[in-house]
Symmetry: C2
Subunit: 279 residues, 2 copies
């Protein structure tokens, strides 16, 4: 199946569209959504912000709930939202169908362990296959930034930290900052990467950041997020905040939780931040 | 069950909260959501905009998808979103569980026919029970306006037209303007109100509007809405646009459809419109 349009909606004078395609990296059909601002055309290619979603989500949550498209239309930024895992009847899932591993929980890594390694190659899908597809088929240029929420915040951080030449800026809402020391991350990494914890370090933002980062990073974290202490641990990442080779802004937002109500309240700040670095 | 809070999320410095209560008019537990802007307090009671949703929706769709809360926070307007029908195991539904009648499809009328009349008293719930409950329990004043989408646009129009002293302004996105001449309306009214069509006229905006309206009305309709000609029929309502005693603005928006992407694109205009009349 080549790239197939499955829906389109006019929004803020631009377009929200959904597509399906056969993805080679993950060996299955994948669905994504793209927002094209009104000024995007073959003569005026626009930069792209890639959004990575959290556990249980797919490519639709952000487009429907974040309230981001007005600002993106004004700034002239395209947004691409990816799915959170491979999908399909032959893609293995958590044995108990739990929400925190398997379908909807790809954790943006390349699995090395069977049976997960056949499809769960989300890191390659996000960093290699999807951008090539987007830049070939849509009126966008090669300037891109990365952003995500929760598991997708972890994804945005490691994808950006490990590909500093590819992206212009990184941001996240309540990311899993130190997955090798969080129950969600430990469960997923043990399955996808095996039980040798030394293999996990290369997929943990709080480890990677100590090597430095040439890209600016913006993080918003709600102080009333129920997952703050047990799963997210922004303090682990904040140990790098004084490093000369790191430009990290971490905002703790009083009263806010883990939901899209939180994301919508601050998404415009993130879009302004990325627009500045994508200019 | 008295009024019971079931969730709360801080958003744009205000609060989104969900509540459940035993509703007398509809003889069942009902759930609603309220957005309280940051300036709302017992010393500064704010006006309320009531949102009525369309077929298949409940009280959550608007709060999650419309992108309305930033503007409502700035304007200092509370928003209340109601459910679209009575709910519960003993509430009768469409015999084929179709989406366009029964659960999720109360059409904002008081049913006169058995078995529907026991619970399907949505007109009384929206115009009488819910506003009294809201004004008793939240920091709001008695200024209110009404707005809705599709079936909820029909609801907003008939609720406003029939209660011109209660509300300050009326608006709608792609409302069912002439339900007595649309398949959705004819099916629902035949069940709820009986097969005598003379009993339907009092619940049809295109009929009611010819009696005049002292409230301003704003309607946005997408030109690419797939239900435009068969179900919505704004032309039936537009026949009143020249009446001296009607202040109707009907905007046909090129390229837009029936979705929340359409609603989000123009909701700020509607909030500004209502704020002006609620001031």
């Amino acid at each position: 199946m080549s790239l197939q349009n499955i829906s389109q909606n006019k929004v803020f004078d631009g377009w929200h569209k959904q597509y399906q395609h056969d993805a080679k990296t993950v060996n299955c059909a994948m669905t994504f959504a793209i927002f094209l601002p009104p000024n995007a055309s073959e003569k005026n290619k626009v930069p792209v912000l890639y959004w990575l979603s959290g556990l249980t989500c797919d490519h639709q949550n952000f487009m429907q709930k974040a309230g981001a498209l007005k600002k993106a239309a004004e700034l002239g930024i395209a947004i691409v939202t990816a799915d959170t895992s491979p999908r399909g009847d032959d893609v293995p899932d958590d044995e108990n169908n739990d929400y925190d591993f398997g379908l909807g929980a790809g954790f943006y890594v390349n699995a090395t362990q069977a049976p997960w390694n056949k499809h769960y190659q989300m890191y390659d899908y996000i960093t290699k296959e999807l951008p090539v597809l987007i830049e070939k088929n849509f009126p966008v240029n090669n300037k891109k930034s990365i952003i995500g929420h929760s598991m997708g915040g972890h994804g945005a951080l490691i994808v950006g930290l490990k590909n500093q030449g590819l992206y212009k800026s990184i941001s996240a809402f309540c990311p899993i900052c130190n997955p090798i020391n969080s129950p969600w991350g430990e469960k997923a990494f043990a399955h996808y990467l095996g039980t040798d914890r030394s293999q996990w370090i290369d997929h943990d933002a709080s480890e990677l950041i100590h090597e430095g980062c040439s890209l600016p990073i913006l993080i918003d974290q709600g102080k009333d997020d129920p997952f703050l202490d047990t799963q997210l641990k922004p303090g682990s990442l904040a140990t790098a905040i004084d490093q000369q080779n790191v430009d990290l802004t971490l905002r703790m937002q009083a009263g806010y939780d883990h939901s899209y109500f939180f994301i919508s309240s601050f998404i415009n700040d993130h879009l302004d931040f990325h627009a500045k670095h994508l200019a």
